[in-house]
Amino acid sequence: MAAVQQTVDTVKTLDVDAYKYGFTTEIESDKAPKGLNEDTVRFISARKREPDWLTQWRLDAYRRWETMAEPRWARVDYPKINYQDLYYYSAPKGTAGPKTLAEVDPELLRTYEKLGIPLSEQEILAGVQERRVAVDAVFDSVSVVTTFKEELGKAGVIFCPISEAVRAYPELVRKYLGSVVPVTDNYFATLNSAVFSDGSFVYIPPGVRCPMELSTYFRINEQNTGQFERTLIIADAGSYVSYLEGCTAPKRDENQLHAAVVELIALEDAEIKYSTVQNWYPGDSEGRGGIYNFVTKRGDCRGARSKISWTQVETGSAITWKYPSCILRGDHSRGEFYSIAISNGHQQVDSGTKMLHLGKNTSSRIISKGISAGQSQNTYRGQVFAHRKAQNARNFTNCDSLLIGDQCGAHTVPYIEAKNSTAQFEHEATTSKISDDQLFYCMQRGLEAEEATALIVNGFVRDVLQQLPMEFAVEAQKLIAISLEGSVG
């Protein structure tokens, strides 16, 4: 309840248009030459001192990408991206290899502090609770530091930049990289496979419950630079991990490209909980600038009784194209998708999930809450599929949209495909505005329109907020109010 008040206060102290993470960091960087060709791919691979197999893997992807066309089926509209006009690699000077905290450029540490992500091993994120979170901080194309590595190492947990994992754990990387999202999966995933820069690698050994939350914090700083993060998380048999990513970028007038790939693998009885608070720069009130967020996230419930749960709070980006999915391959495996997607201004969101039921007795649950305000367009697109052999597949989907103002749009496009007589799918969706009666009731009790709206919206998204780790739930609640700012007439 304090959070509600906090939400409201935050709204009040902010001007319209005040994206709070919009500052830039003045730091010298090492960049690949502008544009994309085989040399760019080789350059990136060489900078990261990669083994030959990976260089080849990237080149294959690049050649494949050249033959592909950008997908146009989503309800998002943007000018053609000139892929030759971007930088594909940018690293703050002096971050060639993994660092300890003491070695990190203080300017970078200050940046993360300003973002509310203290990169120290004593402090706690958001300062809410006595709870420690290990952070991997990715700045443009490289990871600058990963905290708590030693302590995690004692539990056998590997948490490091993927560029480091390629060298330190080549068998693991080789075995799993591209095994969930194949190189040729889709245009943006293929692009990512060719030029991916950094991201996190996580391996939880059999039977281990990861002793703390893991998180990666992505920051795009450089101008005209694409970010192509690659994250790979493997939860071995019977293990558990909760992982969170956060994202911000400076305010810039031009659009920036972010094309990430995240692969999750859960073996027998393992569970992965993956939460995202995405707050990339959304562009200004005229629709100038902002991040193009084209992301492929997929989890593979490979083992029996495994579970993967995606929770996302999407408030940023000019364009969001993102469908965190679950392949329910193991018998009795379970997939979950909880989403809050808020669009305001000129933002366009096309997001949802896929639940592919392949094994026997698999179940999935989708809760999606879309809120559109301003002149934004917000689309839920989701697929639930039961294979012919997927005995007793179960799905429940609930997907609600809320409209604030009469200039925006809310769309729902579910694909429900059952090929097995024992499948039981249930889908319900509603679209409405905040009821005048509810607003009036709150206002009769003394709340102003904006507070009342924040309160009702927080109620609307509560089922999803509850899925987030506590400290991030608070953060997310603040973000929601900020993103809706200026939308109440």
């Binding site: 949209s401 039981q424 249930e426 679209t431």
Partner: protein, 415 residues
């Protein structure tokens, strides 16, 4: 985008366009040629790949001669309703009943000018280009037609033909009518028919469609426009459909219009039935309810695509869509895509979809009361499907559909 591989059926279709085709017919045909037969990459045809299915088309059906009419007449069993008959898509006054005694009802041959110009779909374009000799069924403003009118579509001497029926039902302001359409053109051939329904202000229509026999590849397009406060209740019963696409393009064009659109598909063998709806709430304060049910056995494939579109000015829209499927076999499949596309904020819209199986407790309950398992299943299936008939006002129309359904499920004929 790679160019589409040529499809011989398209070449066949091109030969159907007569040398003396009107400019507008040519225009429609060109539009069709440009788009080509839709394939699975066309989003709205994703689940019914017509291009893959239709590799050749049989010869174009000609206007019926005496021999064709004789065959059709034999199939035309004695019926209880006043009938308008088409043979191979052509209006056949010789086989139709005399409506002169029914006040406010007029049936005339349709001309190109009778149909709204724009189309939204390649197969509707094709129909506009090739259709000849349909009818316009006109119900005068204010007329309350109590008798049920039946439209019967029959085949002529040859069933393996390409047919392009194109008819219009028009109700003037305040008119009331009840119409049942019986489609009985045999299981062979290719069909691409269009039915236009235009309701004037405050008009009310109960419309039931029984697809008893559909061609080996058949597309049925319904183009519906409702003026202010008009009310359409429409139910379709689809069965034994080798490959059917039934598509509705509905515009709730006048304030306060009401639409109830429903259907039940009872499919077996390798039947394929695709119901695709595009319901546009083009005016404020309109209500729509869409309810479709599928009973799928054997290798049947059911498809439901429903889209409710609410443009920015259509405030106070109330739209609810529901699709339910009952899968009776592991080889059967249902794909449902209920969509909402909403640009107005003061709306209450929703959709639901469910894939279920028969309720074990209900089955058990019936069995404890002495009903054999198979019978109990039939009873529950019947109840599941027949539920959608209830939205019709006319008891006579509901009875027709109920009887068809019992027949399909192989039940004892109701006494």
């Amino acid at each position: 985008m790679t160019a589409l591989a040529p499809n011989p059926a398209e070449e066949d279709l091109a030969t159907f366009l007569p040398a003396d085709a009107s400019p507008s017919a040519r225009l429609f045909f060109d539009q069709f040629r440009k788009a080509g037969l839709p394939n699975r990459r066309v989003e709205s045809w994703h689940y019914s790949d017509l291009r893959a299915r239709l590799r050749a088309v049989p010869p174009l059906a000609r206007a019926p001669d005496e021999a064709a009419r004789a065959v059709a007449r034999q199939k035309l069993a004695a019926g209880a309703f006043l009938r308008v008959v088409t043979v191979d898509g052509f209006y056949a006054p010789e086989l139709s009943d005399d409506f002169s005694a029914v006040a406010g009802v007029e049936i005339i041959r349709a001309g190109e000018a009778d149909f709204a110009g724009e189309t939204a779909d390649a197969l509707l374009d094709l129909n506009a280009a090739l259709a000849r000799g349909g009818f316009v069924l006109d119900i005068a403003a204010g007329a309350r037609v109590e008798t049920v009118i039946e439209i019967v579509a029959l085949a002529g001497a040859e069933t393996d033909r390409s047919r392009f029926g194109r008819n219009l039902i028009r109700l003037g302001a305040g008119a009331h009518a009840k119409i049942v359409e019986t489609r009985d053109e045999g299981f062979a051939g290719f069909g691409d028919s269009a039915l236009f329904i235009a309701l004037g202000e405050d008009a009310q229509l109960d419309y039931a469609c029984r697809c008893r026999e559909t061609a080996s590849v058949e597309v049925q397009s319904l183009n519906v426009t409702l003026a202010a406060r008009a009310n359409l209740r429409s139910v379709a019963l689809l069965a034994q459909t080798p490959f059917l696409r039934r598509q509705y393009f509905v515009s709730l064009a006048g304030e306060g219009a009401e639409l109830q659109l429903a259907g039940a598909a009872i499919l077996g063998r390798t039947d394929h039935a695709d119901v695709t709806l595009a319901v546009r709430h083009d005016a404020p304060a309109c209500t729509s309810r869409e309810t479709f049910k599928y009973v799928l056995g054997d290798h049947a494939n059911g498809v439901f695509q429903g889209k409710i579109v609410v443009p920015p000015h259509a405030q106070k829209t109330d739209g609810k869509m529901m699709c339910r499927g009952l899968l009776l076999s592991d080889e059967a499949a249902l794909s449902a895509k209920p969509e909402l596309e909403i640009f107005a904020d003061d709306v209450a819209c929703g959709h639901g979809a469910a894939v279920t199986k028969l309720d074990a407790q209900q089955l058990f309950y019936l069995e404890t009361r002495g009903v054999p398992h198979i019978e109990a299943e039939k009873i529950l299936i019947d109840a599941f499907a027949a539920d959608v008939f209830e939205m019709l006002d006319s008891e006579a129309l509901r009875d027709v559909l109920r009887a068809d359904l019992s027949e399909l499920l192989g039940e004892e004929k109701p006494a």
